[in-house]
Symmetry: C2
Subunit: 302 residues, 2 copies
């Protein structure tokens, strides 16, 4: 089933205690596409870059089955750039620099051939841009997943709340769930947030795993236990990619299939953080993901 | 099977965002005994209080099947007192006051009838005191569980490392695991710590659940999801109580039985934090614990 992915395609410069990169390729949509590609060869990308963005990186996506017809390349403009430095505790990071560049004026234009996609993955982006993509769909996708972050809650809450009414799954982290709901405990937060619209809520807790709420049920799973985390950038996006990728192969979408999808999402994220940038997400195979899913099942079984 | 519990019996004064207590009964051993009592009526306590400690609180323990012959009552002296205040994020607390009182000169004296106990639960205490109890055992207990904290790692590391060589299970939290091992990731930390002596390591992650390492296997479980946490004091001790209580009813002690015990420990801790002080641990029944264990199994099953 076809997956339409919207989000940033970007340059990042990242520093963690394990090293430092120059400008490398990043962006929510890049991570999502790479992480969804082991599951699907029917991925469509809507995003924007400047003409400084390397052609071979676009070709890399196309070779993996990503249709880049919806990727606008702005002549004479520069690609979105973010640089950040992670603390020794990699759950904390400081943004060093953000250059919006092409994102400042980005108006998504969903190609006609993309408008009947069955799955819509709204990667982390300004809520009004996510909304514009949704508005251009010819028919409602079978499943809409929205990922967002605290920055949009701080600055564009109203737009975000409007979008929430239309989505099936919302993915945010634990702090964001507390912020959005005004509740301390995640159980209470989830009750409030699922009343805002999303049928399902996935709360991502980084190294502590994730929680699924929906159909008045709960599912809790730990993160994949790793000996070494090199670079957490893109972990949440890779999670989203694994999630939508796996779901696109399911006959039915319900609590049960989303529960299983979360294991695949967890495995996808675990490969991402073992390398700087998108390398981990790019190289992983479906067999490697399956192996980690099996291991996750083993180590959580009583 | 008999369980010997060593640890503090104390007064606490606690403040959380949900309220503030006067001097109430607390202490690691108190929580452990109450939380183990739904599983066993063969619990023996070694600890110390001053003669300011209320008799009816001792009777309460005895009524639950705790033999208090090993509880020294020091005439003219005062019971150990701790007061603390939790931040809005209840994972953080400030100690307001600590009065060691009777603990300053505490030399544990294990009654003869206690010296063949099958289970030894060394609750959080000065490592040399834990060691003195171990030395007085007539035969090696079938299982020795040791709980400790960062304060002892900071100040009495050598003593602690000596004890670690003799124990079967060590329970510490994630920060303490990082401190003790010098490793970032808990997987690496566990590898190092299990080489220091304990056959099994349980890393407690508060609201994020716990991890079991041993026999070259891993088991991960989330915390019991609660809508409201009133007072986290004693959560780790109640976890230890549930753990040793359940294990004392097992025919074999191995990775599999400890894995199941962790679910009971998790449930025991969840009742503790729903009330101020020991009230939650005191009142819970085995049926209520079983119900939460079943629920934990449901919400973690794929």
């Amino acid at each position: 089933m076809s997956i339409l992915v919207v989000g940033t395609v970007a340059f990042d410069a990242i520093e963690t205690k394990h090293g430092k990169t120059d400008k490398i390729v990043g962006g929510a949509a890049t991570y999502i596409c790479h992480s969804a590609s082991p599951f699907s060869k029917n991925i469509k990308l809507v995003s924007v870059v400047g003409d400084d963005f390397p052609k071979h990186e676009i070709l890399k996506l196309e070779k993996k089955g990503v249709d880049t017809l919806g990727l606008q390349i702005k002549k004479g403009e520069k690609t979105f750039f973010w640089s950040g430095k992670y603390h020794d505790d990699m759950n904390i990071r400081d943004t060093i620099e953000t250059q919006l560049n092409v994102l400042e004026t980005f108006v998504p234009d969903v190609p006609k051939s993309f408008r009947k996609s069955k799955f819509l993955m709204l990667g982390n982006l300004m809520p009004s841009v996510q909304q514009k993509v949704l508005d251009q769909m010819q028919e409602r996708p079978e499943m809409i997943i929205l990922d967002t972050m605290n920055f949009w809650m701080d600055n564009f809450l109203e737009d975000l709340l409007k979008s929430l009414k239309k989505v099936d799954v919302l993915t945010i982290n634990d702090e964001e769930a507390r912020q959005l709901s005004g509740e301390d405990t995640l159980v209470k937060a989830a009750k409030k947030i699922t009343k805002m619209g999303p049928k399902y809520l996935i709360i991502k807790k980084a190294e502590h795993g994730s929680m699924l709420f929906g159909e008045e049920k709960i599912f809790l799973t730990p993160a994949y236990p790793l000996e070494r985390v090199i670079d957490p950038t893109g972990a949440g996006d890779s999670f989203a990619g694994g999630l939508v990728g796996y779901l696109s192969s399911c006959e039915k979408i319900n609590f049960k299939s989303i529960r299983t999808a979360i294991l695949y999402a967890t495995a996808a994220a675990s490969f991402c953080v073992q390398k700087f940038g998108t390398e981990g997400a790019e190289k992983v195979t479906i067999a490697e993901i399956e192996k980690r899913v099996q291991y996750l099942k083993e180590i959580t079984k009583v």
